[in-house]
Amino acid sequence: RQNLRHLTLVRMTPDVLYDQMIGVGAADRLVFSWGGNPGVGSLHRFREAVEDGWPHPIELEEHSHAGMAARYVAAASGLPFGTLRGYVGSDLLERTANVATVTCPFTGEELTAVRALDLDVAVIHAQQVDRHGNVGLWGLTGVQKEAVLAADRSIVTVEERVTAFDSRVTTVLPAWVLAAVAVAPHGSHPSYTQGYSNRDNAFYAAWDSISRDRDRFAAWMRRHVLDVDDFGDHLRLVDAESALAG
């Protein structure tokens, strides 16, 4: 909506939101390890950008999950590279300059090195912010902590503001490593937030047909993203349509 262009988007598992950003032509480059619509199939905007260069070609840098994870960890640790047993024998090796080999100085064994994934900005969604501005997460936290710590600035949306964290919180990001925290209930939609909302499986399925056609996608983006006031309105609109469809 801010008409940002020429972005490099990074995520292990880019899904609907990334498909939207690619579809509107905001991204020049995608760094990822799995780009699909989980449980449904393809991301059609992503595919059309790659297969037909529409709305413009997109440069891909692809990795394995293990490689991406090691890249986030290296960046969060202030190291220029991470080491793993990975990529060996895969054609992925020929498609990126950010994977190389490193030799163990003790055993002489050759291992795979991946370049640290230093980010300008990380955006994650979490469960709670406490009165000191610390953010609390639980459930499958993925690489969210590492993404936050790999970025120059991190923005977190949360389900709610609380006086003290729920006892289920297992991971805390201190306020002083975050640039901004905003309360945005259901901010993970169409994904879920453990303890707050369920995955909107119907939306993922619906996205398959919405995104399959350029015009339908454009109309949907106009109505649901560009012409709404805020994310709350967006959610209300999606909800209302889902009720009609259901």
Partner: protein
């Protein structure tokens, strides 16, 4: 209840998992088969999902590796970097369970592109966890529907290594796991030749003829001299599978 070809494939995949095995499972067919095994003969199978759930016991097959129920029912929940480093890479996974868009005679797998990489006919989702699951699990089982589109003479892209170019070439790459031990399809089961590591049809599902399997294989298929016929899914197996599918959200 008649078992469909897909049912048989899933049941045979489930049977391949012994109880208490530690299985790294992807979403889709592998997850369905692993959860079926858990309801049948392997109640104590340990399901590990790349999203960080160790010992997950979902009541319905998850649509996404990030499904919340995985965390709620898991013995342990860890970060994604940890699942790949401490659990998969360190050699703690008995069976890696994969699917494929293309597979070749050495059980190498493509999940990246159909057609040339720079100008693909079909852009697939990509590698995900597969390259390291294929490399580091003690053993790999592939579950995939068999057709000329999937069983190809030559992969358009090698995403994950099976038995590489055969013989001891996989070990020479330094991969620590033993690689694919079985490729389970809707027609039968293929296993690597002990020496050449080329896939050999060793088991055929009831009602399937060898010619059909060959016709759906993109290379001259080797057939075992001791080819056996898969035991038909029992009513209990089929019922459990249907029940599980019915729960899919």
């Amino acid at each position: 209840m008649t078992a469909t070809a897909d049912d048989i494939m899933t049941v045979v995949a489930a049977r391949a998992l012994r109880d208490r095995a530690v299985c790294f499972v992807g979403i889709g067919l592998p997850s369905l088969a692993a959860n079926l095994a858990r309801r049948l003969h392997a109640p104590d199978i340990v399901l590990v999902y790349e999203s960080g759930a160790i010992g997950a016991k979902p009541t319905r097959p998850p649509l996404s590796i990030g499904d919340g129920e995985l965390a709620e029912t898991a013995d342990a929940v860890v970060s994604v970097p940890e699942i790949f480093a401490y659990w998969l890479q360190a050699g703690r996974i008995d069976v890696g369970f994969l699917s494929a868009a293309q597979i070749d005679r050495y059980a190498n797998i493509n999940t990246t592109v159909i057609g040339p990489y720079e100008d693909p006919k079909v852009r697939l989702p990509g590698a995900g966890g597969a390259p390291e699951i294929a490399a580091s699990s003690r053993e790999v089982i592939v579950v995939v529907r068999q057709s000329l589109r999937t069983f190809v003479d030559r992969l358009d892209f090698v995403t994950s290594v099976g038995h590489h170019t055969g013989h001891d070439s996989r070990a020479r790459l330094g991969l620590r796991g033993r690689g694919p031990s079985a490729v389970i399809t809707d027609l039968g089961v293929l296993r690597p030749d002990p020496v050449s590591r080329e896939l050999v049809l060793t088991e055929i599902h009831p009602g399937v003829v060898v010619d059909e399997v060959s016709a759906r294989t993109g290379w001259p298929l080797r057939v075992s001299a001791t080819l056996t016929v898969t035991a038909a899914p029992t009513p209990a197996e089929v019922a459990a599978l249907r029940e599980l599918r019915g729960r899919q959200a």
